[in-house]
């Protein structure tokens, strides 16, 4: 694959500039300064690897025309592809177009395989500025020689880099003096865990001793507990005694004070009893007096009752007077009337009889009126019936009626019988039948004319039939007399005869009814008269009884009953008056008795009226109450004084006994503890308290220690920390073991790479270096015959024929640049498959060479061009001519200044 053309669309000062076509081998591009030679070189690298960003310290070749853009045209076995890159993120997007041939989207990766951007810049596309980089980058991460060397050794990465990485990774795991590396941390943790385990084991080792100590503590604790209990008991006893003594003393003092007070109170009580003696007269009359006082309310009630009785008496008297006055009789007369039940029964019987008879009389009167009204009504019917029957003239209607019946019967006798054969009209029947036939035939034949004729015939037939029937039944030979009687001018028809008979029948019926009404009136009149006479007789009897009973004639039974009621009321009122009078008398006597009695009792010890009236009683009662209350009060005061004195005497006696007992107890206590007073006993109690505190402290100290020890021992029997620590130690050891193995593998791998590398340098590096050495020897015309390039870094050395070594710093600039060029040519010569599609671009790298060495260099470059595409830019025509002379088939391109 060969780069055939370089196109700068927009790049630095180049716009739509093209460089090509480049040759397969060596191409010399000749152009003056500012013709764009360096720009084209940079463009190739940027299209291959991306445009540099602003952060990269590199010339950017920006252009005002727009985004930077360039194209490279590659050719491989007759096919061509264009790789185009435009400025953008991440170096800018790349597009690959196949001009002819199959699509090859990964052509860029193929071209650049194994060559980093820096390697390209330093080895493949370089100028004078980059010449020394090939050595200055030695030993760094950008050791181009090492990388290309690795590639030439069949590796994808530099063994030096790998070894460095492995060593670094190993150092991340462990360093001899490190503390934060993984293995170092683990070692530290293991030490700590072991320390903890040892501590635990030491604790365990003391377990037996601790258990023995626990047993000792149990014994000591039992002794301490016994001692404490003993002292506690002693202290408790003396304490209780001291307390009891103090309490007794205090009690004695209190009792003595109490006795003084009680005796004073007793004296006061006795004096009070003497000064509150009551009046004996009052005391002797006190029961009677209090009884009377108790009766005072009854007496007051008696006075009220008396007034009520007097009022009732007056009221009864008034009502009796009213009753007598209302009867119109004197009291004696009134009270003399027998108002017993017999009189009342007679009055009631009379009242009932008279009432019944009066009702009977009224009924009979009303029956008569009804009979009379009926008779009058019937008379009206008779008149109408006679008029209808034609007998309303003067004379006996019954005779007139009989005459007319006779005439009627005569006429009826002459009237032909109904339904005789002479009743039918043949022509009318013919007409009628003909009409029917015509109608039927017309309807059957749909001859409506015949139907019409039939209808006319039928109508005529019907007319004549009806007329015949209307004239049928008439009396043919009626007697004139009969007609006269009946006021007829022509012989009547049957129907007319029937009507006349009905009228005559109605008249006859009316006349009969009229006779019945007349008889009813007469009967009612008789009944009324009988009732009236019966009533009159009963009235006479009533009057006689009234006179007998003293009630006076002429009054009704009702009045008589009323009078009897008045009599009975008067009698009752008389009894009430008598009773009320008796009550008044009785009450008055009781009141008088009470007043006298009260005055009598009071009179025994005070001045009162000897014969008190009723009005004096309240005053007397008041005095009695006052006297009673005073007496009672004096009596109560005396009793209180006596009771108080008694109580006080008792209390004094009890207090004296208590004081004696307390003194006795105190004496016993003092004797028990052989002391004379309470303070001495208190001192003994205080000494015992201090002793007890010491015993308790000793006990508590032992108990605490035992409790802690027991808990610790129990904890040890349960605690799983030992197992956890051993497991932790196992984990740490396991991790350390793994880390150590990992470390060993890393270190061994690094060592193996190093050993292999050393051996490879020793045995195989000459293949690389020999190429450079040969180039350098040719360039320098055998001035320098040897060249060493330590693969692990370090200065490159050259040797002259006398094996004298010189580093690049010891060479002249030209010679040093020749050495760098030789290194590049030697390296590239060994890169068989690395970057095969990449051209080697050299930008006036021979300017510092003398003519002899320039020719040597040109020959070396020409030899490289036999295997790789080489493009050499120069602004020196003589250089171009030099190459043309060295390689006549060189492709020459001339650039003009931009």
């Amino acid at each position: 694959m060969r780069l055939r053309r370089i196109e700068a669309v927009r790049f630095g000062r180049l716009n739509d500039a093209t460089l090509g076509d480049l040759g397969d081998g060596l191409t010399v591009v000749e152009g003056p300064n500012e013709a764009g030679k360096s720009t084209f070189t940079a463009l190739v690298r940027h299209v291959l690897y991306g445009f540099p960003t602003a952060r990269e310290k590199e010339r950017s070749y920006h252009t005002a025309a727009g985004k930077r853009q360039g194209r490279l045209l590659f050719e491989d076995e007759g096919s061509r592809w264009v790789v185009e890159r435009t400025e953008g993120p991440h170096g800018g997007p790349v597009e690959v177009h196949a001009l002819d041939g199959v699509a090859r989207p990964a052509i860029l990766d193929e071209v650049c395989a194994g060559v980093s951007p820096l390697a390209f810049k330093v080895v493949f596309g370089f100028g004078l500025d980059e010449m020394a980089h090939i050595e200055s980058l030695r030993g760094s991460d950008d050791d181009i020689i090492a990388r290309l060397y690795a590639a030439s050794a069949g590796l994808m990465v530099s063994p030096h880099d790998v070894r460095t990485t492995l060593d670094k990774e190993a150092e991340d795991l462990f360093t001899a003096r490190g503390k934060t590396k993984r293995a170092n941390v683990l070692l530290g943790e293991i030490r700590e865990t072991r320390t903890a385990l040892r501590s635990l084991e030491e604790e365990a080792a003391s377990f037996v001793a601790d258990r023995a100590r626990l047993t000792e503590l149990d014994e000591s604790l039992a002794e301490a507990r016994a001692s404490r209990d003993e002292h506690r008991s002693a202290y408790s006893e003396v304490g209780r005694a001291a307390e009891r003594l103090a309490e007794r003393i205090e009690r004695i003092e209190a009792l003595e004070q109490e006795l003084v007070g009680l005796r004073a109170e007793l004296k006061t009580a006795l004096e009070a009893r003497e000064t509150t003696a009551p009046d004996e007269r009052i005391l002797s009359a006190l029961p009677e007096l209090e009884a009377l006082i108790e009766d005072a309310s009854a007496h007051a009630q008696g006075r009220t009752d008396l007034r009520d009785a007097e009022s009732a008496l007056a009221q009864a008297q008034r009502r009796l007077s009213d009753a007598v006055a209302k009867s119109g009789r004197s009291t004696e007369q009134l009270l003399a009337i027998d108002a017993g039940p017999e009189a009342a029964g007679a009055i009631d019987a009379a009242r009932n009889d008279l009432n019944r008879m009066e009702v009977e009389l009224d009924n009979r009167g009303r029956e008569l009126e009804r009979a009379q009204m009926n008779a009058a009504e019937n008379s009206k019917y008779v008149i109408a019936a006679r008029r209808n029957a034609g007998i309303d003239g003067p004379g006996d209607p019954r005779e007139m009626l009989a005459e007319r019946y006779a005439a009627l019967e005569a006429l009826e006798a002459g009237r032909p019988a109904a339904g005789s054969p002479g009743g039918l009209d043949a022509p009318a029947l013919v007409l009628l039948v003909s009409g029917i036939v015509a109608v039927v035939a017309g309807l059957s034949l749909t001859e409506y004319v015949a139907v019409g004729i039939g209808v006319v015939l039928m109508a005529a037939g019907v007319f004549f039939v009806l007329r015949r029937r209307a004239s049928a039944g008439r009396v043919e030979d009626a007697p004139a007399a009969a007609l006269d009687v009946l006021d007829l001018s022509v012989a009547p028809t049957g129907m007319e005869l029937a009507r006349i008979r009905r009228l005559l029948d109605a008249c006859r019926s009316a006349l009969a009814t009229d006779d019945d009404a007349t008889r009813g009136v007469a009967e009612a009149t008789r009944e009324l008269d009988l009732a009236r006479s019966t009533l009159s007789a009963r009235m006479t009897l009533w009057d006689r009884w009234l006179d007998f009973a003293g009630l006076g004639a002429g009054i009704t039974p009702t009045d008589a009953s009323h009078t009897l009621g008045v009599v009975r009321e008067a009698l009752n009122l008389k009894v009430a008056v008598d009773d009320a009078a008796e009550t008044v008398e009785r009450l008055r006597a009781r009141l008088d008795s009470y007043a006298c009695k009260l005055a009598g009792v009071l009179g025994r010890f005070t001045e009162v009226v000897s014969e008190p009236c009723e009005d004096d009683v309240p005053l007397l009662v008041g005095k009695a109450r006052q006297a009673s209350a005073d007496a009672r009060k004096a009596l109560a005061a005396r009793e209180d004084s006596e009771r108080l004195a008694g109580e006080l005497s008792t209390r004094i006696s009890v207090a004296e006994q208590k004081a004696a007992h307390a003194k006795e107890d105190a004496t016993v206590i003092l004797q028990r503890w052989s002391v004379s007073d309470g303070d001495s006993l208190e001192a003994i109690a205080e000494r015992e308290r201090l002793t007890l505190e010491d015993a308790e402290r000793a006990h508590d100290t032992l108990a605490d220690e035992r409790s802690r020890l027991d808990e610790r021992l129990a904890e040890r029997t349960r605690e799983a920390r030992g197992g956890e620590l051993r497991l932790e130690l196992s984990g740490l050891t396991e991790r350390l073991q793994q880390t150590a193995e990992e470390y060993a593998v890393l270190r061994t791998a690094a060592r193996m790479i190093g050993v292999t590398q050393e051996r490879y340098e020793r045995e195989r590096q000459p293949e690389v270096v020999r190429g450079a050495q040969e180039v350098f020897r040719c360039i320098t015309g055998d001035r320098y015959v040897g060249l060493t390039v330590p693969i692990a870094g370090g200065a490159v050395e050259v040797f002259d024929a006398r094996a004298e070594a010189r580093t690049s710093e010891q060479l002249s600039r030209g010679t040093a640049e020749q050495m760098y060029l030789a290194l590049r040519l030697g390296l590239i010569g060994q890169l068989d498959d690395i970057g095969r599609g990449l051209p080697v671009l050299m930008d006036d790298v021979l300017v510092n060479f003398d003519p002899e060495r320039r020719r040597g260099s040109a020959e070396a470059i020409a030899r490289l061009a036999d295997r790789r595409q080489v493009v050499l830019f120069t602004c020196h025509p003589e250089t171009a001519e030099l190459f043309a002379s060295v390689r006549p088939d060189v492709t020459r391109i001339t650039l003009d200044r931009c």
Binding site: S116, A153, G154, L155, M156, V157, V162, T165, L166, E169, F174, A176, A183, L187, I190, L200, E201, A204, A205, F207, V208, R211, L713, R716, T717, R718, E719, A720, G723, E724, R726, L727, E728, L729, S730, G731, T733, E734, R735, L736, Q737, Q738, T739, A740, E741, Y743, A744, V745, L746, R747, T748, A749, A750, R751, M752, I753, T756, R759, Y760, R764
Partner: protein, 417 residues
């Protein structure tokens, strides 16, 4: 034939023992592991009571005396007290971890516990309800007991049934200290009907028949290598011989699996395969939590990705968190990356390039264990020096191979552009 005797044979309880090789950073796991030996003891006692056995024999290492764990000794005392209350006698011999001269918290065991002397082999006779059995036993006097104690066991002619209780390494069992060494012939010569042995943590019956010789194994696995069932034997013994039934008592199961990543295309595949493996372990754990160690193997494409810093750690964290969410939980203790790069080492070995040189150099070291050990010892020396006895020198060959693979991974990895 008289009544048989039924007893439980347990050993190596190692109460409160230090776990080795496990890094339990999860609190649940830590708690479960710390409590596991106690729970296993409870399980043994529960089994004795539930099965109403005639007696219990413990063939040494009930606890680790040198740890001076008071809790362990008291827990053991309480357990013995439970059996005493259930009227189940215990025949106990001390082992190398709890020798007679070891540290004691000064506790006294119930009278129903017969502790065999360290000075001589003792005979104790169990008799109940017509069943009779002589139990012989001897304790370790000191931890490093090198005397052949089995030879001191001689069956009395009057014994109807005889059981020997001893903590011993029969036939120099590899991986265990050769304490109280003896041979199978020594055991046979004692003419016991049943040998209740302790010391080897894996339960096994060395031989059966006229005489049965069995290791009870530990009641709870103590490190990642002690995978599989752990517990004790219930033995029914009569004149016809012994019939044994294994009783699992471990509270936490240890398990180790290997996952071949040859088919894994990426980390996601590895994650999925590990999740499946954890589920399988949880199912097989019979309801008990498990601590799992995983070894990733195979020449896998994901080797390079796994070798990147932090990738395996992140993967372990994720798988661990998921497995801990299950019931029962599974603690992924460690995922060992034993995968190899997908590169063809033979091809590299034949090339003249740098990688070829490196492979050949590694081959040379692997072929020369002394040189490999020297270079590894030199490189890891500072760490080992600091770590002291806590650290074991890694296997040089493993380190060399891992270093070779790591170097190739890094050298041949594409450089990030």
């Amino acid at each position: 034939m008289s009544q048989p005797v039924r007893f439980i044979h347990a050993a190596d309880l190692h109460l409160d023992a230090p776990f080795v090789g496990v890094d339990a950073t999860d609190e649940r796991v830590r708690r479960a592991l710390v409590e596991s030996t106690y729970r296993a003891l409870d399980a043994v006692i529960d089994a004795c009571i539930a099965r109403d056995v005639d007696f219990l024999v413990i063939a040494g290492d009930a606890y680790n005396s040198k740890d001076k764990s008071v809790r362990a000794q008291f827990a053991f005392q309480r357990a013995m007290q439970r059996l005493a209350e259930a009227e189940i006698p215990v025949y106990l011999s001390w082992g190398n971890h709890d020798p007679a001269d070891g540290w004691s918290a000064g506790i006294s065991l119930p009278e129903s516990v017969h502790v065999f002397s360290a000075r001589e082999t003792q005979r104790s006779v169990f008799e109940r309800n017509g069943a009779s059995c002589a139990i012989y036993g001897r304790s370790f006097r000191k931890a490093a007991e090198t005397e052949n104690l089995a030879r001191s066991f001689v069956r009395d002619a009057s014994d109807r049934l005889a059981v020997g209780v001893l903590h011993t390494n029969v036939g120099g069992h590899a991986g265990y200290d050769d304490y109280a060494p003896c041979s199978a012939e020594d055991l046979r010569a004692a003419r016991m009907d049943y040998w209740a042995l302790g010391h080897i943590h894996k339960p096994e019956q060395l031989f059966t028949g006229a005489v049965t010789v069995a290791y009870a194994g530990c009641t709870q696995g103590l490190d990642p290598t002690q995978t599989g069932a752990r517990g004790c034997w219930e033995v029914t013994l009569d004149e016809s011989g012994a019939r044994s039934e294994f009783i699992a008592t471990a509270a936490v199961i240890w398990d180790a699996i290997t996952v071949d990543l040859v088919d894994a295309a990426g980390i996601e595949d590895v994650h999925s395969m590990l999740a499946d493996a954890c589920e399988a372990v949880a199912r097989a754990a019979d309801g008990r939590p498990a601590v799992l160690r995983v070894e990733l193997t195979g020449r896998a494409e994901v080797h390079t990705e796994l070798a990147r810093p932090g990738v395996l750690r992140d993967l372990t964290d994720e798988v661990r968190a998921e497995a801990m969410d299950g019931t029962p939980w599974v603690w992924v203790d460690r995922i060992l990356d034993r995968t190899r790069p997908a590169i063809d080492l033979d091809q590299l070995r034949a090339s003249e390039e740098f990688a070829g040189d490196l492979v050949r150099m590694a081959d040379g070291l692997l072929a020369d264990p002394v040189a490999a050990a020297e270079i590894v010892a030199e490189l890891i020396g500072p760490v080992l020096e600091k770590g002291g006895t806590d650290l074991a020198a890694p296997d040089p060959a493993t380190v060399i191979a891992a270093a070779r693979d790591l170097a190739l991974d890094r050298l041949l990895a594409e450089e990030d552009r």
